[in-house]
């Protein structure tokens, strides 16, 4: 099975993923690992309806996604994997969904989150999660769309310290 991209994006399937990343990595299958959406049929339907029918879309809980990846079902597919938060990414990794590289796309601003780049807002818990994955040997980079430059996530951190 080819996992062509694992990405954290709070908006999950949206224009950047479909228009920029899918042709770039030539994916033909998108897996969304998100408990919330998996439990909401209407939202699941909306998300599936926004993807062209020639692409396979699987939306499931993190446990389901892990099972799917460890089964032989996606063997012939080039898969793009999406998480909503850093916590989900860590849970999936610890649950046995192994990825070697992780792309940081969009993480939305909430109260208490600090800005790292134009689209990345992280809080200390996020940083701990990323640190954990980094220790486990995952190469984490920030890149909104392929046309942007790729930056290792550690390079972003001084931006936070500068803000106090």
């Amino acid at each position: 099975m080819a996992l062509v991209l694992a990405r954290i994006d709070n908006r999950l399937i949206h224009g950047q993923v479909l228009e920029a990343w899918v042709p770039f990595v030539q994916a033909d299958c998108i897996v969304v690992a998100n408990d919330e959406i998996a439990g909401n049929p209407l939202q699941k339907m909306m998300m599936q309806a926004s993807v062209p029918s020639r692409m396979q879309v699987e939306i499931g809980t993190i446990a389901e996604a892990t099972l799917l990846f460890n089964s032989a079902q996606l063997n012939r597919r080039r898969t793009l994997l999406l998480f909503g938060t850093t916590a989900d990414a860590v849970r999936a990794y610890q649950g046995g969904l192994i990825y070697k590289r992780l792309n940081l796309g969009n993480l939305q601003a909430y109260k208490g989150k600090a800005r790292f780049s134009c689209t990345l807002f992280l809080d200390p818990a996020d940083l701990d999660n990323l640190e954990l994955l980094d220790q486990a040997g995952v190469k984490i980079t920030a890149r909104c769309i392929p046309a942007d430059g790729e930056r290792p996530w550690r390079k972003l951190i001084p931006a936070l310290k500068g803000r106090g």
Binding site: R11, L12, I13, H14, G15, V17, L18, E19, P23, F24, N40, L42, Q43, M45, M46, M47, A49, S50, V51, P52, S53, R54, Q108, A109, R115, C118, T119, F121, P146, A147
Partner: protein, 272 residues
Amino acid sequence: MCLLLYGLFIDVVGVEMKVSWQTRLHIWFRLLLLQASWNFETLQGLGFFYALLPGMRKLYSKEKLPEVSLKYTGYFNTHVYFAPLVAGAVLRLEEDRISGTAAEVEIDDFKQMVAAPYAAIGDAFFWGGLRPLAAGIALFLAVKGILWAPLVFVLLYNIVPIWFRTAFFSRGYRQGLKSVEFIQQHKLPDLAIHTKEAAVVVLGGLSAFMVFSQLTQHQVPSWLGMLTLIPMVMLGLVARKGFSTLLLVIITVSSIFLIGLFWADVVHLIAF
């Protein structure tokens, strides 16, 4: 223009509901300013609040208004041409809530639920498909030196967006929550792919046209033009690898420049 008027008067104004047509027209015009304060934190959030404010004023009392408004200024982002559809539906849901009809979903959840899928569809269809298609057609005229080409582009491109902005605003308002059904029925993402395919075909014709007219102008044997395909396909493959347009332009143009200089020298030598 007719389409715009039709849309405004039949669709935006025509339906008689609790929120008067004047207010809806007001909201519709404010939706044109949706992205005036686009920012990295809430994206279109402020704009969405700004657009819906006239409607909320009609629906809520003065005491409740600030509290309701604060809910609307939060994170929101969808495609600009889909925003009227969302705004219409949200207006309807608010109206239902006031009149006591039990809503099936929270309005805030609804807003977030539809935003990303609509954005995905809109990006694919309008930016990815329609824009290259309209540009390709208009450039045929522009290459010919016809001054109307920009006007053709604007008119050609705007037919569908205007229809979306007007007709779908009222559709959202009429149908509320049900307005999401149309994207299932119409398979818009597949339509977007077809539009993109059409755009690729038009761009193919356009390239051939540009190369051919250039060659005939300079009295070069025209079959040579077929060779243009080779560098173009190569550039396309390189671009797929993620190289920036700027770099590709610099490489191409400077190699043409050098070849031009070299050729001029050769011609010069032969002449002597």
